[in-house]
């Protein structure tokens, strides 16, 4: 068995909100609660869940944009959860991130060539000429033209801007890229181009991806394995195909069944589970299983006892007292 490139153990992240003067005083948001996950070299791990489930927080913890409240994150053979910012710096070359909104993540006052050259200037001692050459090379890799180098971000469409963001991320030949909703802001026709580009880059550059998205069909397309998150925890984890054909956690089932499919023929055969209510607040999460307030099959035990994520079958982990195993959803 190969060793994982990224290994998370019991990662928790809490945020404090409010001050002692606000109504109810200071409150704690339990954004991540004991998340354990390992990512193998060369694979794409998809993180899915609804807003507030902690998937973006997890991505930001992996890239150390947030420091953990507790738990460990190992990257290769280094524990990056506690090392100093100075020792983290060389690690940042190997872990890069692409953000959802290419409008917000690119400095509007800088030309594309400077934007892409920035990581090279910061992390390497390459000469100006070498950097220019590398920038031209990167533009070509992500499908932009050489004359785009002198332009400013506002002159590009959303899809092209995301290409610039990707060029920045791969500039230093990283091993791992955390992609936080990289195609959510794009139109469908452009979304497919970027999904294909990411797949090509992964193959050519032997990249490992952590792909965060709320769009299940996109996640299915790109991922080898998928972790489904709900209110700060992983509720189900397994091979992408298995998760979709045989979801075991009632939340995963509801999530998949709620996605509207652009296929009239298949629609009538689908068994839709409409959950009631909204995702509860992570400030005051429900007792026991956090999903029990919306779960169609919740029993007394679920209200009291919190299920742990455990292996149920080949490569599948489920955090549920009564998982639905062996059934076919389609």
């Amino acid at each position: 068995m190969t060793t994982p490139l990224l290994d998370l153990r019991d990662v928790s992240k809490r945020f404090m909100v409010g001050t002692r003067f606000s109504a109810g005083g200071k409150k704690v948001v339990h954004a991540l609660d004991s998340v354990s996950l390992s990512v193998m070299p060369g694979e794409t791990m998809g993180l899915v869940g609804e807003s507030g489930c902690g998937k973006s927080t997890l991505g930001r913890c992996i890239t150390r944009l947030y420091t953990l409240t507790s738990g460990t994150i190992r990257f290769g053979d280094t524990d990056i959860s506690t090392i100093s910012e100075r020792r983290m710096r060389p690690m940042r070359r190997r872990i890069q991130m692409v953000f959802q909104d290419p409008y917000a993540s690119l400095n509007p006052r800088r030309r594309v060539q400077d934007l892409i050259a920035e990581p090279l200037r910061v992390h390497t001692s390459m000469s100006t000429a070498a950097i220019a050459k590398r920038v031209a090379e990167l533009l070509e890799i992500v499908g932009l033209k050489p004359d785009h180098a002198m332009r400013f971000p506002h002159e590009f469409s959303g899809g092209q801007r995301q290409r610039i963001g990707i060029a920045r991320a791969i500039a230093l030949n990283p091993e791992l890229i955390v992609l936080d909703e990289p195609v959510s802001a794009l139109d469908v026709s452009v979304q497919a181009q970027i999904v294909n580009l990411l797949a090509d880059l992964q193959e050519q550059l032997k990249l490992t991806y952590v792909f965060i998205a709320h769009d299940l069909s996109v996640v299915r397309q790109v991922s080898n394995r998928i972790a489904v998150m709900y209110l700060g925890s992983i509720v189900e984890l397994g091979a992408a195909e298995d998760i979709f054909t045989k979801p075991a956690h009632p939340y995963t089932q509801a999530l998949i069944s709620a996605v509207p499919v652009p296929d009239i023929a298949k629609q009538s055969q689908r068994n839709r589970i409409v959950l009631s209510g909204d995702v509860p607040s992570p400030i005051n999460p429900p007792s026991g299983c956090r999903f029990h307030t919306r779960c169609p099959i919740a029993r007394d035990q679920c209200r009291v006892e919190r299920p742990v994520l455990e292996a149920r079958s080949m490569g599948r982990q489920v955090a549920c007292h009564f998982p639905v195993l062996g059934s076919d959803s389609q």
């Binding site: 609804e50 294909n196 054909t245 652009p262």
Partner: protein
């Protein structure tokens, strides 16, 4: 009931004239749900804003005809339009926060809307607000009327806006991407609600979305828009089972499937939607189209009745 003919909306900008909507025609029948689908910038929102009389930009020019139950809406005064809006026609938006004021309770806001159109007491209007919130499945409606918008979740706010839109029992409801900002499980609830409304109130609904999946779930008929024009029109079943316009086809093909065989690569549409400033003549989709030929330098007409396509390759 709603008949839009040759609607053109153009805006004067520093870069030149932008024709956001260019000769769009469509009908909405009583009680039906018409889906309007297209990517950002395709003109889907602007054309319905024009129907609602909500384009107030002094740089905008609107031409064509919009007739609602035989009455021409273009050229109505702001006052006459205001009487119609909310009572006969109502609109809900993608972001419910923009439709709600943060400084009043939701009950107050719904009651205000009712009292703007009907002569009822505040108490009676508030009672109606409670009933409406119950109808859109808000738990504890009696308590919910006293809440402020920021105290509600996104899904709940969207329900409040829907309740507000329903307050005067409009015959026509325009919903502009009402579920785009919501999570899928909440989206499913709102879609159920929209379906229920169509059934119980008999309202005609125009539903704008970019999501083909949502369209497949709720539309009766659809129009597909691209670069300010309608490129295909027809019953939902026809459009999904046998799309004819190359753009409709390509759009459906580019969506990753949720089940079955996983394609190695997605069928992406090359390029990006055109810039609408000083648009070159001819079919707007031609530069991205696999079926383009010499004729595409001219402007294709939307040909057909119930099922219509604007494409030379199809209509040849």
């Amino acid at each position: 009931m709603l008949r839009v003919r040759d609607l053109t909306v153009s805006f004067r900008t520093e870069q030149g004239v932008v024709r956001a909507v260019d000769g769009v025609s469509f009908d909405v029948a009583e009680g039906e749900l018409l889906g309007v689908v297209g990517e950002s910038g395709s003109g889907k929102t602007v054309s319905l804003l024009a129907v609602m009389g909500l384009i107030t930009d002094p740089n905008a020019t609107i031409t064509g005809s919009i007739s609602y139950r035989g009455r021409e809406l273009l050229g109505l005064s702001a006052k006459e339009m205001r009487k119609l809006r909310g009572k006969e026609v109502a609109m809900i938006f993608q972001d419910p926060m923009t439709a709600l004021t943060p400084v009043y309770t939701v009950g107050w806001q719904i009651a205000e809307q009712i009292r703007a159109h009907e002569n009822v007491s505040q108490a009676a209007a508030l009672q109606r607000a409670v009933d409406l919130l119950a109808e859109v499945n808000i738990p504890n409606p009696r308590e919910a009327v006293n809440r402020y918008p920021h105290q509600l979740s996104g899904g709940m706010r969207q329900r409040v806006v829907i309740a507000m839109a329903l307050s005067c029992n409009p015959a026509l409801l325009v919903a502009d991407e009402p579920t785009t900002a919501l999570d899928v499980t909440v989206q499913a609830q709102i879609l159920d609600l929209v379906r229920k409304l169509q059934k119980n109130h008999g309202s005609a609904i125009v539903f704008i979305t970019h999501d083909m999946g949502v369209m497949a779930e709720i539309a009766d008929r659809m129009i597909v828009m691209y670069a300010g024009r309608v490129v295909e029109r027809g019953r939902k079943e026809d459009l999904f089972l046998s799309p004819r316009h190359p753009y409709t086809k390509a759009l459906l093909d580019s969506i990753p499937p949720l089940s079955g065989e996983k394609p190695r690569r997605l069928k992406a549409i090359p390029g990006s939607p055109p810039n609408l400033v000083n648009r070159p003549p001819g079919c707007a989709f031609a530069p991205r189209c696999r079926q383009r030929f010499e004729k595409c330098d001219a402007e294709p007409m939307l040909i057909g009745e119930k099922r219509a396509v604007a494409c030379f390759a199809v209509n040849a």
